[in-house]
Symmetry: C2
Subunit: 215 residues, 2 copies
Amino acid sequence: MSQLRVESFTISLDGYGAGPNQDLINPLGVGGRSLHGWAIATRTFQQHLFGTDGGETGVDDDFAVRGFRNVGAWILGRNMFGPVRGPWPDENWRGWWGENPVYHVPVFVLTHHARAPLVMEGGTTFHFVTEGIASALARAREAAAGKDVRLGGGPNVIQQFLRQRLIDEMHIAISPVVLGSGERLFEGIDLQALGYGCTQHVASPNATHVVLSRQ
Amino acid sequence: MSQLRVESFTISLDGYGAGPNQDLINPLGVGGRSLHGWAIATRTFQQHLFGTDGGETGVDDDFAVRGFRNVGAWILGRNMFGPVRGPWPDENWRGWWGENPVYHVPVFVLTHHARAPLVMEGGTTFHFVTEGIASALARAREAAAGKDVRLGGGPNVIQQFLRQRLIDEMHIAISPVVLGSGERLFEGIDLQALGYGCTQHVASPNATHVVLSRQ
């Protein structure tokens, strides 16, 4: 059965999944990059994101690897796709990732503003979904053709899916940094009432990894 | 210089420092005891709290040990002292810990309702402070006579001290459990703006330990 999974989603010690004041210079918000130190150091991220042969193996990399395993489609909130807000002024913004994005599968971007699909190199096509999360999930599942759907974020989008109990499994990494402000991943979310529990817990020197599963 | 320290304060993966609905049966709130699995298993807690010779050594115990080192006085919020709210109906409530409490030093309990000091066995005296956190800290420092003051909590009391930048160092343990609701330790606290950063990060199979220091 195709699952909806959150993978390698990193929060700070004070619970923030993204820093404040996202813009073109700070796609993860101010301070957001420091969150992802554990991931950037892994062999998997070095290969997938930067095309290099470097990077470390070990606990962190094990979780990075599982994040890319059996993923047939992605769902992203619009702010993860870019800094543009409101109606699209033109077709110029094509994502943070250049002409050959890291996804290599169909990506469904949640937005209130319609836009034609954007076919990129390497198998990635961005589809813009204006009908809400249930529609995005149905389309992503169909596109994934039996594989899983990976939900990228941001926090607000993850909260919407959590409230509907649509997420099967979440791998969350907790980085040893404080952000102080931004978007809290679990703001307004009662994980226990929603039936999620911690089913895995492993730490490396760089981060603590937990898996929360719907029970 | 005498420091104000938070030690062995445990939060859940979703950031709660105590569960909801504290009462006589659930001094840490519903689910709050599951938070403290890492601590209860340590040799230090077994000795200090339960008077047994059992318990584990290792990373968790190292942090438990440091929590009791060089402590000359404690400060507690009233809810940590007991479930009684509002004016004291009588003198019957003498804390959760029996006649020989675990502190063995003066303990300053923050409350809005005056009460005579309570001299217990083993060196613990509970003093009830109605003049606020600055007064409690001044009295605790004097009683500590050069040693440090340990701030026990709860979350709301820690937040009051944090906002005034009065805490020098906090050891926080993150347990692999979700509570879903209760009191968030860092609710309304911008650690970065207050100048706190993570200066230590070690994990065991039972918990992730971090030390936040004022910088």
